[in-house]
Symmetry: C2
Subunit: 261 residues, 2 copies
Amino acid sequence: MLRNCLAGGRSILAETRQLITRAFREEFAYRRKADQSWVTEIDVAVERLVRDRLAQHYPGHGVVGEELAEQNRTAEFTWVIDPIDGTANLRHRIPLFGTILALFQHEQPVLGLIDIPLLDKLYSGGKGLGVWCNDRAVPSLDDSATADPCAFADELISLGGRSQFLAAGVPQFFDEMMGSHPYVLPYGDCFGHGLVIEGAFGAMADFDLRVWDVAAAQALVPEAGGKFLCWRQRGENPLEARYDVIFGRPRVVDWLAGRLP
Amino acid sequence: MLRNCLAGGRSILAETRQLITRAFREEFAYRRKADQSWVTEIDVAVERLVRDRLAQHYPGHGVVGEELAEQNRTAEFTWVIDPIDGTANLRHRIPLFGTILALFQHEQPVLGLIDIPLLDKLYSGGKGLGVWCNDRAVPSLDDSATADPCAFADELISLGGRSQFLAAGVPQFFDEMMGSHPYVLPYGDCFGHGLVIEGAFGAMADFDLRVWDVAAAQALVPEAGGKFLCWRQRGENPLEARYDVIFGRPRVVDWLAGRLP
Protein backbone atom coordinates (compact mmCIF):
# COMPACT_ATOMS: atom_id res chain seq x y z
CA MET A 1 0.00 0.00 0.00
CA LEU A 2 2.68 2.55 1.02
CA ARG A 3 4.89 1.46 -1.85
CA ASN A 4 2.02 2.04 -4.27
CA CYS A 5 1.36 5.49 -2.81
CA LEU A 6 5.05 6.40 -3.05
CA ALA A 7 5.08 5.45 -6.74
CA GLY A 8 1.85 7.41 -7.21
CA GLY A 9 3.34 10.48 -5.51
CA ARG A 10 6.46 10.30 -7.67
CA SER A 11 4.42 10.16 -10.83
CA ILE A 12 2.31 13.15 -9.72
CA LEU A 13 5.48 15.16 -9.02
CA ALA A 14 6.83 14.30 -12.47
CA GLU A 15 3.73 16.01 -13.85
CA THR A 16 3.94 19.06 -11.57
CA ARG A 17 7.63 19.43 -12.45
CA GLN A 18 6.71 19.72 -16.14
CA LEU A 19 4.05 22.31 -15.34
CA ILE A 20 6.44 24.35 -13.16
CA THR A 21 9.40 24.20 -15.54
CA ARG A 22 7.24 25.45 -18.40
CA ALA A 23 5.48 28.17 -16.38
CA PHE A 24 8.76 29.41 -14.82
CA ARG A 25 9.98 30.54 -18.25
CA GLU A 26 6.85 32.63 -18.98
CA GLU A 27 5.16 35.57 -17.32
CA PHE A 28 2.99 34.64 -14.33
CA ALA A 29 0.71 36.55 -11.95
CA TYR A 30 1.44 36.87 -8.24
CA ARG A 31 -0.05 38.64 -5.24
CA ARG A 32 0.36 38.85 -1.50
CA LYS A 33 -1.89 36.84 0.79
CA ALA A 34 -3.43 38.15 4.00
CA ASP A 35 -0.35 36.97 5.95
CA GLN A 36 1.87 39.00 3.55
CA SER A 37 3.42 35.89 2.01
CA TRP A 38 3.38 35.51 -1.77
CA VAL A 39 1.19 33.28 -3.90
CA THR A 40 1.54 32.93 -7.68
CA GLU A 41 -0.82 31.41 -10.20
CA ILE A 42 1.69 28.55 -10.45
CA ASP A 43 1.10 27.63 -6.78
CA VAL A 44 -2.62 27.28 -7.38
CA ALA A 45 -2.26 25.41 -10.69
CA VAL A 46 0.13 22.90 -9.07
CA GLU A 47 -2.19 22.25 -6.12
CA ARG A 48 -5.16 21.74 -8.46
CA LEU A 49 -3.18 19.25 -10.55
CA VAL A 50 -2.07 17.29 -7.47
CA ARG A 51 -5.62 17.20 -6.09
CA ASP A 52 -7.02 16.02 -9.46
CA ARG A 53 -4.57 13.13 -9.59
CA LEU A 54 -5.08 12.18 -5.92
CA ALA A 55 -8.86 12.16 -6.42
CA GLN A 56 -8.43 9.82 -9.41
CA HIS A 57 -6.03 7.40 -7.79
CA TYR A 58 -6.91 7.59 -4.08
CA PRO A 59 -10.56 8.70 -3.91
CA GLY A 60 -10.96 7.61 -0.30
CA HIS A 61 -7.99 9.60 1.00
CA GLY A 62 -8.15 12.98 2.70
CA VAL A 63 -6.34 16.02 1.28
CA VAL A 64 -4.95 19.09 3.00
CA GLY A 65 -3.10 21.78 1.03
CA GLU A 66 -1.68 25.24 1.52
CA GLU A 67 -3.84 27.04 -1.05
CA LEU A 68 -7.21 25.23 -1.21
CA ALA A 69 -9.80 23.84 1.23
CA GLU A 70 -9.28 20.55 3.09
CA GLN A 71 -11.20 17.45 2.01
CA ASN A 72 -12.17 14.32 3.93
CA ARG A 73 -9.65 14.94 6.66
CA THR A 74 -10.91 12.16 8.96
CA ALA A 75 -9.82 9.43 6.50
CA GLU A 76 -7.17 6.95 7.68
CA PHE A 77 -4.83 8.27 4.97
CA THR A 78 -4.46 12.02 4.33
CA TRP A 79 -2.20 13.70 1.79
CA VAL A 80 -0.61 17.03 2.66
CA ILE A 81 0.46 19.34 -0.18
CA ASP A 82 2.63 22.42 -0.36
CA PRO A 83 2.44 23.17 -4.09
CA ILE A 84 5.30 25.71 -4.00
CA ASP A 85 7.47 25.92 -0.90
CA GLY A 86 9.67 28.99 -1.36
CA THR A 87 7.24 31.12 -3.35
CA ALA A 88 9.25 34.30 -2.66
CA ASN A 89 12.09 32.68 -4.61
CA LEU A 90 9.81 31.56 -7.44
CA ARG A 91 8.31 35.05 -7.68
CA HIS A 92 11.83 36.44 -8.22
CA ARG A 93 12.78 33.55 -10.54
CA ILE A 94 15.38 32.16 -8.15
CA PRO A 95 15.36 28.39 -8.73
CA LEU A 96 15.46 27.41 -5.01
CA PHE A 97 11.88 26.28 -4.43
CA GLY A 98 9.97 23.05 -4.71
CA THR A 99 6.84 21.00 -4.24
CA ILE A 100 6.20 19.05 -1.03
CA LEU A 101 3.89 16.07 -0.79
CA ALA A 102 3.42 13.84 2.25
CA LEU A 103 1.08 11.08 3.31
CA PHE A 104 -0.21 10.76 6.88
CA GLN A 105 -1.65 7.55 8.30
CA HIS A 106 -3.57 8.07 11.55
CA GLU A 107 -1.95 11.52 11.84
CA GLN A 108 1.59 10.15 11.52
CA PRO A 109 3.67 11.07 8.43
CA VAL A 110 4.60 7.84 6.64
CA LEU A 111 5.67 9.09 3.19
CA GLY A 112 7.53 12.23 2.13
CA LEU A 113 8.38 13.68 -1.28
CA ILE A 114 10.22 16.92 -2.07
CA ASP A 115 10.74 17.90 -5.70
CA ILE A 116 13.10 20.75 -6.66
CA PRO A 117 12.19 21.11 -10.34
CA LEU A 118 14.88 23.52 -11.55
CA LEU A 119 17.65 21.58 -9.81
CA ASP A 120 16.43 18.20 -11.05
CA LYS A 121 16.21 16.74 -7.55
CA LEU A 122 13.48 14.53 -6.19
CA TYR A 123 13.83 13.39 -2.58
CA SER A 124 11.38 10.65 -1.71
CA GLY A 125 10.84 7.76 0.63
CA GLY A 126 8.86 6.55 3.57
CA LYS A 127 8.51 4.24 6.50
CA GLY A 128 10.36 1.03 5.75
CA LEU A 129 11.02 2.06 2.15
CA GLY A 130 14.29 3.97 2.49
CA VAL A 131 15.05 7.51 1.33
CA TRP A 132 16.13 8.41 -2.17
CA CYS A 133 17.56 11.41 -3.98
CA ASN A 134 16.48 10.76 -7.55
CA ASP A 135 17.35 7.09 -8.02
CA ARG A 136 20.12 6.85 -5.41
CA ALA A 137 19.57 5.87 -1.77
CA VAL A 138 20.92 8.69 0.44
CA PRO A 139 23.80 7.88 2.84
CA SER A 140 22.75 7.33 6.44
CA LEU A 141 22.50 10.44 8.62
CA ASP A 142 23.08 8.41 11.77
CA ASP A 143 26.14 9.80 13.58
CA SER A 144 25.13 8.52 17.02
CA ALA A 145 27.68 5.69 17.08
CA THR A 146 30.61 7.81 15.88
CA ALA A 147 33.42 7.68 18.44
CA ASP A 148 35.09 10.94 17.32
CA PRO A 149 33.93 14.08 19.00
CA CYS A 150 31.72 15.88 16.52
CA ALA A 151 33.47 18.97 15.14
CA PHE A 152 30.41 21.18 15.34
CA ALA A 153 32.37 24.19 14.13
CA ASP A 154 32.95 22.36 10.82
CA GLU A 155 29.28 21.49 10.33
CA LEU A 156 27.26 23.44 7.83
CA ILE A 157 24.09 24.63 9.57
CA SER A 158 20.97 25.88 7.83
CA LEU A 159 18.49 28.24 9.42
CA GLY A 160 15.15 29.48 8.20
CA GLY A 161 14.79 33.25 7.77
CA ARG A 162 15.18 35.57 10.76
CA SER A 163 11.49 36.56 10.56
CA GLN A 164 10.55 32.94 11.33
CA PHE A 165 12.58 32.98 14.57
CA LEU A 166 11.13 36.38 15.42
CA ALA A 167 7.61 34.96 14.99
CA ALA A 168 8.59 32.04 17.23
CA GLY A 169 9.85 34.45 19.90
CA VAL A 170 13.53 33.43 19.68
CA PRO A 171 15.24 35.91 17.31
CA GLN A 172 18.26 35.88 19.63
CA PHE A 173 18.88 32.22 18.71
CA PHE A 174 19.14 33.23 15.05
CA ASP A 175 21.36 36.22 15.85
CA GLU A 176 23.67 34.20 18.09
CA MET A 177 24.04 31.41 15.52
CA MET A 178 24.76 33.91 12.73
CA GLY A 179 27.22 35.73 14.95
CA SER A 180 29.10 32.75 16.36
CA HIS A 181 29.00 29.86 13.91
CA PRO A 182 31.32 30.00 10.90
CA TYR A 183 29.10 28.06 8.50
CA VAL A 184 25.49 29.16 8.83
CA LEU A 185 23.65 29.37 5.54
CA PRO A 186 20.03 30.47 5.52
CA TYR A 187 19.14 28.26 2.55
CA GLY A 188 15.58 27.82 3.67
CA ASP A 189 12.41 26.06 2.69
CA CYS A 190 12.47 22.65 1.08
CA PHE A 191 15.73 23.41 -0.73
CA GLY A 192 17.35 23.40 2.71
CA HIS A 193 15.38 20.34 3.81
CA GLY A 194 16.71 18.41 0.82
CA LEU A 195 20.29 19.41 1.60
CA VAL A 196 19.86 18.08 5.15
CA ILE A 197 18.47 14.80 3.80
CA GLU A 198 21.46 14.47 1.44
CA GLY A 199 23.84 15.14 4.34
CA ALA A 200 25.24 18.44 2.97
CA PHE A 201 23.98 20.29 6.05
CA GLY A 202 24.64 18.81 9.48
CA ALA A 203 21.25 20.09 10.63
CA MET A 204 18.64 22.74 10.02
CA ALA A 205 16.53 24.75 12.46
CA ASP A 206 13.35 25.84 10.72
CA PHE A 207 10.79 27.66 12.83
CA ASP A 208 7.21 28.90 12.57
CA LEU A 209 6.21 26.33 9.94
CA ARG A 210 2.84 24.92 8.93
CA VAL A 211 2.09 21.21 8.64
CA TRP A 212 2.59 21.19 4.83
CA ASP A 213 6.06 22.73 5.25
CA VAL A 214 7.34 20.07 7.66
CA ALA A 215 5.45 16.89 6.78
CA ALA A 216 7.84 15.45 4.19
CA ALA A 217 10.99 16.16 6.21
CA GLN A 218 9.30 14.60 9.23
CA ALA A 219 8.74 11.39 7.27
CA LEU A 220 12.13 11.31 5.53
CA VAL A 221 14.71 12.37 8.12
CA PRO A 222 14.15 9.58 10.69
CA GLU A 223 13.91 7.01 7.88
CA ALA A 224 17.36 8.21 6.69
CA GLY A 225 18.82 7.61 10.17
CA GLY A 226 18.52 11.25 11.23
CA LYS A 227 16.69 12.92 14.09
CA PHE A 228 13.58 15.05 13.64
CA LEU A 229 12.98 17.12 16.76
CA CYS A 230 9.74 19.02 17.12
CA TRP A 231 11.17 21.53 19.59
CA ARG A 232 7.77 23.15 20.00
CA GLN A 233 4.30 22.92 18.52
CA ARG A 234 2.32 26.10 19.03
CA GLY A 235 -1.42 25.35 18.79
CA GLU A 236 -3.21 22.01 19.22
CA ASN A 237 -5.05 21.67 15.91
CA PRO A 238 -2.40 20.21 13.56
CA LEU A 239 -3.73 22.28 10.64
CA GLU A 240 -3.54 25.57 12.50
CA ALA A 241 -0.45 24.91 14.59
CA ARG A 242 3.00 26.43 14.07
CA TYR A 243 5.93 24.04 14.27
CA ASP A 244 9.44 24.93 15.44
CA VAL A 245 11.62 22.03 14.33
CA ILE A 246 15.28 20.97 14.20
CA PHE A 247 16.39 18.02 12.11
CA GLY A 248 19.47 16.37 10.64
CA ARG A 249 22.30 14.25 12.03
CA PRO A 250 21.30 13.33 15.60
CA ARG A 251 24.30 14.77 17.43
CA VAL A 252 24.20 18.01 15.48
CA VAL A 253 20.47 18.33 16.20
CA ASP A 254 21.10 17.85 19.93
CA TRP A 255 23.94 20.35 19.86
CA LEU A 256 21.75 22.96 18.10
CA ALA A 257 18.81 22.30 20.43
CA GLY A 258 21.14 22.85 23.38
CA ARG A 259 21.74 26.41 22.20
CA LEU A 260 18.06 27.33 22.37
CA PRO A 261 16.85 29.33 25.38
CA MET B 1 39.22 42.29 -30.24
CA LEU B 2 36.91 42.30 -27.18
CA ARG B 3 34.26 40.38 -29.08
CA ASN B 4 36.83 37.74 -29.95
CA CYS B 5 37.96 37.50 -26.32
CA LEU B 6 34.35 37.18 -25.14
CA ALA B 7 33.78 34.29 -27.54
CA GLY B 8 37.06 32.75 -26.38
CA GLY B 9 36.05 33.08 -22.73
CA ARG B 10 32.69 31.46 -23.40
CA SER B 11 34.30 28.52 -25.11
CA ILE B 12 36.77 28.04 -22.23
CA LEU B 13 33.88 28.06 -19.72
CA ALA B 14 32.03 25.46 -21.78
CA GLU B 15 35.06 23.21 -21.20
CA THR B 16 35.39 23.97 -17.49
CA ARG B 17 31.67 23.32 -17.05
CA GLN B 18 32.12 19.81 -18.45
CA LEU B 19 35.06 19.18 -16.14
CA ILE B 20 33.15 20.45 -13.09
CA THR B 21 29.89 18.63 -13.85
CA ARG B 22 31.76 15.34 -14.20
CA ALA B 23 33.98 15.84 -11.14
CA PHE B 24 31.04 16.96 -8.94
CA ARG B 25 29.48 13.51 -9.22
CA GLU B 26 32.64 11.70 -8.06
CA GLU B 27 34.79 11.78 -4.93
CA PHE B 28 37.25 14.69 -4.78
CA ALA B 29 39.94 15.81 -2.35
CA TYR B 30 39.74 19.07 -0.41
CA ARG B 31 41.72 20.89 2.25
CA ARG B 32 41.80 24.20 4.09
CA LYS B 33 44.13 26.94 2.93
CA ALA B 34 46.16 29.13 5.28
CA ASP B 35 43.28 31.64 5.41
CA GLN B 36 40.94 28.78 6.53
CA SER B 37 38.96 28.86 3.26
CA TRP B 38 38.51 25.62 1.33
CA VAL B 39 40.22 24.48 -1.84
CA THR B 40 39.38 21.27 -3.71
CA GLU B 41 41.26 19.47 -6.43
CA ILE B 42 38.53 20.69 -8.78
CA ASP B 43 39.50 24.34 -8.14
CA VAL B 44 43.07 23.66 -9.17
CA ALA B 45 42.14 21.52 -12.19
CA VAL B 46 39.80 24.24 -13.48
CA GLU B 47 42.40 26.98 -13.10
CA ARG B 48 44.99 24.86 -14.92
CA LEU B 49 42.58 24.23 -17.79
CA VAL B 50 41.70 27.92 -18.11
CA ARG B 51 45.38 28.91 -18.07
CA ASP B 52 46.24 26.29 -20.70
CA ARG B 53 43.58 27.62 -23.04
CA LEU B 54 44.46 31.28 -22.42
CA ALA B 55 48.12 30.55 -23.12
CA GLN B 56 47.15 28.90 -26.43
CA HIS B 57 44.78 31.61 -27.63
CA TYR B 58 46.15 34.78 -26.01
CA PRO B 59 49.86 34.16 -25.41
CA GLY B 60 50.62 37.86 -24.93
CA HIS B 61 48.02 38.40 -22.21
CA GLY B 62 48.65 38.44 -18.48
CA VAL B 63 46.93 35.99 -16.11
CA VAL B 64 46.02 36.32 -12.45
CA GLY B 65 44.16 33.54 -10.64
CA GLU B 66 43.12 32.59 -7.15
CA GLU B 67 45.05 29.34 -6.88
CA LEU B 68 48.22 29.70 -8.99
CA ALA B 69 50.97 32.29 -9.54
CA GLU B 70 50.45 35.43 -11.65
CA GLN B 71 51.95 35.65 -15.13
CA ASN B 72 52.89 38.65 -17.27
CA ARG B 73 50.81 41.05 -15.23
CA THR B 74 52.11 44.19 -16.92
CA ALA B 75 50.51 43.28 -20.26
CA GLU B 76 47.83 45.61 -21.68
CA PHE B 77 45.27 42.79 -21.32
CA THR B 78 45.13 40.63 -18.19
CA TRP B 79 42.72 37.78 -17.46
CA VAL B 80 41.54 37.25 -13.90
CA ILE B 81 40.31 33.79 -12.88
CA ASP B 82 38.38 32.47 -9.92
CA PRO B 83 38.15 28.79 -10.84
CA ILE B 84 35.54 27.99 -8.16
CA ASP B 85 33.80 30.86 -6.39
CA GLY B 86 31.81 29.31 -3.55
CA THR B 87 34.14 26.40 -2.78
CA ALA B 88 32.50 25.80 0.62
CA ASN B 89 29.31 24.98 -1.29
CA LEU B 90 31.11 22.75 -3.77
CA ARG B 91 32.86 20.89 -0.94
CA HIS B 92 29.41 20.10 0.54
CA ARG B 93 27.94 19.34 -2.92
CA ILE B 94 25.56 22.30 -2.82
CA PRO B 95 25.21 23.40 -6.44
CA LEU B 96 25.50 27.16 -5.76
CA PHE B 97 29.03 27.90 -6.99
CA GLY B 98 30.63 28.89 -10.24
CA THR B 99 33.62 29.94 -12.29
CA ILE B 100 34.50 33.62 -12.78
CA LEU B 101 36.57 34.94 -15.64
CA ALA B 102 37.25 38.60 -16.43
CA LEU B 103 39.47 40.55 -18.76
CA PHE B 104 41.15 43.79 -17.71
CA GLN B 105 42.48 46.34 -20.17
CA HIS B 106 44.84 48.88 -18.59
CA GLU B 107 43.57 47.78 -15.15
CA GLN B 108 39.92 48.38 -16.07
CA PRO B 109 37.56 45.37 -16.28
CA VAL B 110 36.15 45.22 -19.82
CA LEU B 111 34.75 41.66 -20.01
CA GLY B 112 33.04 39.51 -17.40
CA LEU B 113 31.88 35.89 -17.44
CA ILE B 114 30.22 33.92 -14.62
CA ASP B 115 29.33 30.29 -15.19
CA ILE B 116 27.11 28.37 -12.74
CA PRO B 117 27.55 24.84 -14.09
CA LEU B 118 24.94 22.94 -12.09
CA LEU B 119 22.26 25.56 -12.73
CA ASP B 120 23.04 25.81 -16.45
CA LYS B 121 23.59 29.57 -16.31
CA LEU B 122 26.28 31.52 -18.08
CA TYR B 123 26.30 35.27 -17.53
CA SER B 124 28.62 37.06 -19.95
CA GLY B 125 29.21 40.36 -21.63
CA GLY B 126 31.43 43.36 -21.73
CA LYS B 127 31.98 46.97 -22.62
CA GLY B 128 29.79 47.85 -25.59
CA LEU B 129 28.78 44.21 -26.09
CA GLY B 130 25.73 43.95 -23.82
CA VAL B 131 25.13 41.44 -21.03
CA TRP B 132 23.70 37.99 -21.55
CA CYS B 133 22.28 35.19 -19.44
CA ASN B 134 22.85 32.17 -21.65
CA ASP B 135 21.63 33.40 -25.05
CA ARG B 136 19.22 36.10 -23.81
CA ALA B 137 20.14 39.73 -23.22
CA VAL B 138 19.31 40.60 -19.60
CA PRO B 139 16.71 43.33 -18.95
CA SER B 140 18.15 46.73 -18.06
CA LEU B 141 18.92 47.32 -14.37
CA ASP B 142 18.57 51.07 -14.81
CA ASP B 143 15.91 52.34 -12.41
CA SER B 144 17.22 55.89 -12.23
CA ALA B 145 14.48 57.36 -14.45
CA THR B 146 11.60 55.62 -12.66
CA ALA B 147 9.12 58.17 -11.38
CA ASP B 148 7.61 55.94 -8.67
CA PRO B 149 9.23 56.01 -5.29
CA CYS B 150 11.23 52.81 -4.99
CA ALA B 151 9.56 50.40 -2.55
CA PHE B 152 12.80 49.35 -0.90
CA ALA B 153 10.95 47.10 1.54
CA ASP B 154 9.82 44.98 -1.43
CA GLU B 155 13.32 44.63 -2.87
CA LEU B 156 15.16 41.38 -2.42
CA ILE B 157 18.62 42.18 -1.02
CA SER B 158 21.58 39.83 -1.04
CA LEU B 159 24.42 40.02 1.44
CA GLY B 160 27.65 38.11 1.62
CA GLY B 161 28.27 36.08 4.77
CA ARG B 162 28.44 37.78 8.17
CA SER B 163 32.13 36.88 8.50
CA GLN B 164 32.88 39.06 5.47
CA PHE B 165 31.29 42.12 7.11
CA LEU B 166 33.10 41.31 10.34
CA ALA B 167 36.41 41.24 8.44
CA ALA B 168 35.49 44.59 6.88
CA GLY B 169 34.77 46.05 10.32
CA VAL B 170 31.03 46.59 9.78
CA PRO B 171 29.25 43.53 11.24
CA GLN B 172 26.54 45.86 12.56
CA PHE B 173 25.53 46.68 8.97
CA PHE B 174 24.88 42.96 8.37
CA ASP B 175 23.03 42.57 11.68
CA GLU B 176 20.87 45.63 11.08
CA MET B 177 19.95 44.57 7.55
CA MET B 178 19.09 41.04 8.72
CA GLY B 179 17.08 42.44 11.60
CA SER B 180 15.17 45.14 9.76
CA HIS B 181 14.71 44.20 6.11
CA PRO B 182 12.05 41.61 5.28
CA TYR B 183 13.81 40.11 2.24
CA VAL B 184 17.48 39.65 2.91
CA LEU B 185 18.92 36.45 1.48
CA PRO B 186 22.57 35.68 2.00
CA TYR B 187 22.92 33.91 -1.35
CA GLY B 188 26.54 34.80 -1.71
CA ASP B 189 29.40 34.42 -4.12
CA CYS B 190 28.87 34.46 -7.86
CA PHE B 191 25.46 32.77 -7.51
CA GLY B 192 24.29 36.00 -5.86
CA HIS B 193 26.15 38.15 -8.41
CA GLY B 194 24.29 36.42 -11.23
CA LEU B 195 20.93 36.96 -9.55
CA VAL B 196 21.70 40.69 -9.30
CA ILE B 197 22.64 40.78 -13.00
CA GLU B 198 19.37 39.04 -13.90
CA GLY B 199 17.43 41.55 -11.78
CA ALA B 200 16.14 39.00 -9.22
CA PHE B 201 17.93 40.87 -6.41
CA GLY B 202 17.58 44.65 -6.21
CA ALA B 203 21.18 44.85 -5.01
CA MET B 204 23.91 42.96 -3.22
CA ALA B 205 26.45 44.11 -0.67
CA ASP B 206 29.47 41.82 -0.83
CA PHE B 207 32.42 42.72 1.37
CA ASP B 208 36.02 41.67 1.93
CA LEU B 209 36.46 40.34 -1.60
CA ARG B 210 39.55 39.75 -3.73
CA VAL B 211 39.96 41.03 -7.27
CA TRP B 212 38.99 37.67 -8.85
CA ASP B 213 35.73 37.65 -6.85
CA VAL B 214 34.56 41.06 -8.06
CA ALA B 215 36.06 41.50 -11.52
CA ALA B 216 33.25 39.99 -13.60
CA ALA B 217 30.44 41.75 -11.72
CA GLN B 218 32.38 45.00 -12.05
CA ALA B 219 32.43 44.60 -15.84
CA LEU B 220 28.85 43.34 -16.22
CA VAL B 221 26.72 45.41 -13.84
CA PRO B 222 27.37 48.88 -15.35
CA GLU B 223 27.05 47.44 -18.87
CA ALA B 224 23.58 46.14 -17.85
CA GLY B 225 22.53 49.63 -16.74
CA GLY B 226 23.23 49.01 -13.06
CA LYS B 227 25.56 50.69 -10.59
CA PHE B 228 28.75 49.14 -9.26
CA LEU B 229 29.91 50.99 -6.16
CA CYS B 230 33.31 50.22 -4.72
CA TRP B 231 32.42 51.46 -1.26
CA ARG B 232 35.93 50.86 -0.03
CA GLN B 233 39.18 49.35 -1.30
CA ARG B 234 41.46 48.27 1.51
CA GLY B 235 45.04 48.10 0.26
CA GLU B 236 46.60 49.76 -2.79
CA ASN B 237 47.99 46.79 -4.71
CA PRO B 238 44.96 45.53 -6.67
CA LEU B 239 46.05 41.89 -6.21
CA GLU B 240 46.37 42.18 -2.46
CA ALA B 241 43.51 44.58 -1.77
CA ARG B 242 40.17 43.73 -0.19
CA TYR B 243 37.11 45.18 -1.89
CA ASP B 244 33.85 46.13 -0.15
CA VAL B 245 31.32 46.57 -2.95
CA ILE B 246 27.60 47.21 -3.49
CA PHE B 247 26.01 46.69 -6.88
CA GLY B 248 22.65 46.33 -8.60
CA ARG B 249 19.86 48.72 -9.55
CA PRO B 250 21.23 52.26 -9.00
CA ARG B 251 18.60 53.51 -6.56
CA VAL B 252 18.71 50.34 -4.48
CA VAL B 253 22.52 50.56 -4.36
CA ASP B 254 22.33 54.16 -3.14
CA TRP B 255 19.72 53.25 -0.56
CA LEU B 256 21.88 50.36 0.76
CA ALA B 257 25.02 52.51 0.77
CA GLY B 258 23.13 55.11 2.80
CA ARG B 259 22.69 52.58 5.59
CA LEU B 260 26.42 52.03 6.02
CA PRO B 261 28.16 53.77 8.92
